[in-house]
Symmetry: none
Subunit: 219 residues, 2 copies
Amino acid sequence: MNRILIVEDEIAIVELIQAGLAKAGYAYEYALDGAAAADLIEHREYDLILLDIMLPKLDGYELMEYIEPQRIPVIFLTARGATSDKVKGLRMGADDYIVKPFEVDELLARIETVLRRYNKSQTQIVLEDVTIDIEARSVVKDGAVIELTPKEFDLLLMLARNKNTALYRETLFERVWGEEFMGNTRTLDLHIQRLRKKLSWQDKIKTVYRIGYKLEVEP
Amino acid sequence: MNRILIVEDEIAIVELIQAGLAKAGYAYEYALDGAAAADLIEHREYDLILLDIMLPKLDGYELMEYIEPQRIPVIFLTARGATSDKVKGLRMGADDYIVKPFEVDELLARIETVLRRYNKSQTQIVLEDVTIDIEARSVVKDGAVIELTPKEFDLLLMLARNKNTALYRETLFERVWGEEFMGNTRTLDLHIQRLRKKLSWQDKIKTVYRIGYKLEVEP
DNA sequence: TTTCATTTTCACAATTTTGAAACATTTTTT
DNA sequence: AAAAAATGTTTCAAAATTGTGAAAATGAAA
């Protein structure tokens, strides 16, 4: 889950943004002035910062200079809509510049775009002690790489994307193998067993009798 | 020098953009309809595409689907300013979305931002003990120059720009060789082997069975 | 034309993945 | 409790994929 810092002194706008971020599934914190923001940035890790320019104590530009060397992406969020302001903000290293008032949906789409550009977006699925990196097609458990074959990986991905949902054997087979399922083979079972063994997930990959399988992890 | 493609059917706007790009020192070409654009994209290399949505023959969205797998950054440039349009464009994979009429200076600043984030403006890529100089087309490892042939260099660059991502053989072949991949040749494998040997990267250039190859380095 | 570096093809080797078969075990139904 | 149905396990060889060495093709430079 991506962590976002909101730096903004108008509490109404903070609340507006918060609601949007929560709905989209981001973790967030906020700071109401520049000094508080600097403090948070120093002590915590963020994937993205939403930054107002006009702030008490330390303004957005000053803060930007402080953030830049840390290479955390920044979206300016401000009432100053003059082209010269936008150019200044972007030249300073911001990744986007949104003028108030804005629509939350556009903000969310632009956040997604910036995170995607930085490869910080949803290329990873974390399930308790296991991390699946979809782009790298790798799986790490407790810091150790688990080698999976292509079919095993695809199967795991399918289970992971539908965690805590019982999936029909037919569904699993058809989606992973891309061909119709005729029930007289032990192929799917075999792959499930191999996954269970490799991940030590005998307990987490549950058999749902007469239905199929379910990956049971913390929600 | 970065190469930019303008896809836009209003000649007045093309001229406006051209003037800006020229002043800022970019190389550019333009297409007045979607079909012409697709043709250019197929035969030439661009670092960025400025894309109008409403176009004759093939619209911007359709073109976007064609561009996306090639990972060329795109800025939508359009009169459609509704939030839903912006969200759609950005979700499709665009890197920015600018509503007409716009100011050229803002466009230039946003182009700069996108190129900066894609490391397209950078001339060096450093991967642990190896430095790739894109302009000089040279590779240095532990201070010593490694001589690579053109194909080897292009292949390495492709892997380096997508480090820690498993790339399909088809993708690699098509992007490095610029022609369609028909699976019955060992050419790609051979070049991979040569790269591994020359860089002593047997362990870093991983084979991803049934998929392709992946350059695995520190993130 | 000859030369030389580069790229590709070919044939085969080595490796990895996969699923069939046969049988064991568990769960549900009768 | 027995029968039936479904799922789990083990083994192993075929199939698919990738690696490799030698030789041929290509193409630019001398």
